[in-house]
Each structure stands twice: as structure tokens, then as C-alpha cells.
């Protein structure tokens, strides 16, 4: 990272390095952000620091769905309006946000915090799968919807969980994999097309 050591101030290069470690932040952007913070008012810098500390100290994992939350169980798990018979399993907390924005799902969630990735040595024990199994003791649960990412690791996770849950008499389904809305059949790849055919339904 030679190009990062240009700033002559050590605190500044330390900040740039910390920012650069964050996902999606390249060396240029890290530099821009660092110089922005340097020029920002003390109040603004303080409030950012406090927000970071608060995230580390106050955010907990919900004991039910394992999502990040202020309380445990989280507001969503406590909400009586949510359908308790449905659990939607996702890889990351951000996936819950995406599904909530759609407004299409009325059940509850389960966040695995990752996916099975054999090449990285990440197995089922590294995910919140045991916690998901524990939730199956709740008689009300009837269906688990796997909403892991449609890539190899996501599908490995989904197939593995399905294998664990099926013997328990729970219905396991997964999100349909197919053509994106607004996409074009002509440009779809073979895997997507074959999946879209498998997951077709009658009109």
C-alpha cells in the first residue's frame, strides 16, 4: 500500500488505512473520506465516533431470529401481527432489510450470518443453523423458506438445511430462481433459464 503512505501525518494515514479495510472502499475513496473527516467540525466527527461505539456496544443478536437488534427478542419477533408459522432463512441481516422493503413477507426471519463455503473452510457449525433447528420445537412453525443467495455457496447452504429440516416434518421451500423482472429471455444464461423452467408455474 505504498500509495497510501503519501500523507505525512501518522494519524491521517492510520485513518486512511482503517477506512481502506472496509468493504467497497478503495484507496482513493479512503483518502477522500479521511480528508473530509479532517476538515469536518469536531461535533460531526464526535457523533460519528459515538455512532460507531454505540453499534459495537448496544446492538445485540436476537435470541430467536439471530438478527441484529436493539432488544432480544427483537421487535419483529415480538410483533403479534407476524405469521408465526413461516420462517424465512437468509444469509445476512441486510437480506432481511431487502425482504422487508418488498413488504411481501409476513412471517418471521432467521439470519444464518453467512453461508456454507467449503473452499473457505466455512461449515454448518460456523452458521446459526443449530439455532434454526431449535426453533423447530415451536409447534406453530409449518414452513421454512430458504432465501439464501442463488450461487453455489447459497445453494449448498439451502440444500444442507433442507436435508436437516425435512425429517422433522417441516415443509421446506426456497425462493424461485429465474428471470429478473425487466430482464430479457434472449440474454439470460443457461443456468438461469433452466432454473426458471424448473420453477415455472401455471397462469
Amino acid at each position: 500500500m505504498d500509495h497510501l503512505s503519501v500523507p505525512t501525518s501518522r494519524p491521517l494515514s492510520r485513518l486512511i488505512e482503517s477506512l481502506h479495510r472496509m468493504p467497497g472502499i478503495g484507496p482513493k475513496l479512503a483518502q477522500r473520506l479521511a480528508y473530509y473527516l479532517l476538515r469536518a467540525s469536531t461535533d460531526e466527527a464526535q457523533s460519528l465516533v459515538q455512532a460507531i461505539v454505540a453499534v459495537k456496544e448496544e446492538v445485540v443478536l436476537c435470541s430467536v431470529c439471530q438478527n441484529t437488534a436493539d432488544t432480544s427478542p427483537c421487535a419483529l419477533c415480538q410483533d403479534p401481527a407476524r405469521d408465526r408459522s413461516l420462517i424465512c432463512v437468509v444469509e445476512e441481516p441486510l437480506d432481511v432489510l431487502a425482504l422487508e422493503r418488498s413488504g411481501a413477507f409476513k412471517g418471521r426471519y432467521h439470519v444464518l450470518h453467512g453461508c456454507i463455503s467449503p473452499i473457505d473452510g466455512i461449515g454448518p457449525e460456523d452458521l446459526k443453523i443449530r439455532e434454526l433447528l431449535a426453533r423447530m420445537h415451536d409447534e406453530e412453525v409449518q414452513e421454512v423458506i430458504m432465501a439464501t443467495n442463488p450461487n453455489l455457496e447459497g445453494e449448498a447452504t439451502s440444500m444442507y438445511v433442507q436435508r436437516l429440516l425435512s425429517p422433522l416434518g417441516v415443509k421446506v421451500s426456497r425462493l424461485a430462481r429465474g428471470l429478473p423482472f425487466g430482464g430479457d429471455v434472449e440474454y439470460a444464461d443457461e443456468v438461469t433459464l433452466s432454473r426458471a423452467l424448473q420453477d415455472r408455474h401455471s397462469l
Binding site: P118, I119, N151, L152, A156, P180, V191, T192
Partner: protein
Amino acid sequence: MSRPRVYKTEAVVLGGTRLGEADRLVTLYTQRRGKVRAVVRGALRPRSRLGGHIQPLTHCHLMLAVGKGLDVVTGCQILNPSIPLREDLVYQARGFYLMELIDNFCPEGLENRALFSLLVDTLEHLCLSEGGERVLRRFEVRLLDITGFRPELHRCLGCHQALEPVTNYLSLSAGGLLCPPCAPEQPPVHSLSVNAVKVLRLLQEADMETVNRLKLAPGLAAELEAALKGYIQFVLERRIKSGVWLERLRRELGPNGSLGGPQNGR
């Protein structure tokens, strides 16, 4: 000699990670330039044309632009989507294992056409319904061959005598077999039965069709697997992590090794 700014090549996608907001950094094994790391811009956006094409285990025809740092994928046509490897846990685990082996054995930018055709051939055969393990054993043996780690299986590496049809010893450090009198002096070794040595010799020479007709008793299959695994681990000085996953799945799913096969009935 100036390199062209755009090139076309066949490739197998070995893996990929997220890069920035919506790009993917993919590792490819290409026919023309060996292992290459390249960027697929916007791959993670749902409407990306390339994102769906460039998934691990896919054999495709690619167009790449030479970038300042990494090459950029600009076009893709799928030759084999390896669909059966996506529909079953064990099939998929074999695919992961294959990708990880190639990634670990190959340095970036070193062309090896023999290895490329072996990879494509192996991928194709792993998609067929039976014999995935045999296909992997042949791949391991041929991979060792092509990358210069072919174990000597005909003469003892200690005394240089032809080997007797008795239990001999595969020496990892010597790179081949040792006869019983020579063996104990040079650990680490794996004992290898007469049949195991025969099969290994066959795997060094045989084409896929012959391998497909091969019937291996479970004990012999396990012996071969352990010996090759140990040998490869010694060569690479590391463990192949997806091999652990594959082993675990086979153990948990029973000898049949499949959840009833791929869903599309193939």
C-alpha cells in the same frame, strides 16, 4: 512484443468474490493463459448480463480486455453450465474440490493446455450420474502427472529394483513407491496394497472411458483416496478444505452418497 488489448479464450470459472459495490472478482482457469483473475463489472446487479453466466463450475467461452491491473470480462458464452453439479450436495462438493485443487496447483498466468482439457473433461464426467469418485481419482493422478509430481509406481525409489506384487509403501518425500525393506527408513509413508498400486498405474495411463468401467470395492476406493489425499497434501503443504466437506457429506448421507440424485432426474 505488444500484447493485444482484447483476447478470447475458453475458460472454467473456479470461483469468485465480491469486489466493491456490485462487481465480482473471478478466478478463471483459461485455455490460453492458465489461471487468470479478472473483474466482472456489475455482476451482482440482478439485471447483469454477465453475472449469471460467470458462475463457478461453468465452462465458457470468454472475451477479456486487458486492464491496467486486472483483466475485465467483456463477453461470455456458456459451453457447459454443469447443471447437475448445482442440484445435489455431493455432486456440488466434488465440483468445489476440483476447483480448489486447480486453484492450488496452478500459479497465475502459466498456460497449460493439457491441464485445461483434463479440467474440462473431468467437469463433464462429474456431471454424469455415476462414478464421481473414480473421476476425481483419475483427475488427481493426471493432475500430479501434468504438474510434474507424477509418483513413481514401477521401481522402488530406494533400491531401484522392480517392485514385487506385495504391499509396498508410497513415500511422500521420495515421490513414489518403496519396497518393504527400503520403506521404514524414509517416513512419511502410506502402505499400498497390490490392487491399489495396480489401479494407480492404470489411472496414470487410462482414458476416462476405461476409468468409467472400473469397479472398485469400497475398501480399495478408500485406500486410494487416502493415499492420493496424503500425497497431494504433502505436495501442496496444505489441506484441500473442500475435501473435508466432501468427506463429511458422504459420511452423513451414507454410502449412496446422494439425496436421490439431481432434481432434474439426470
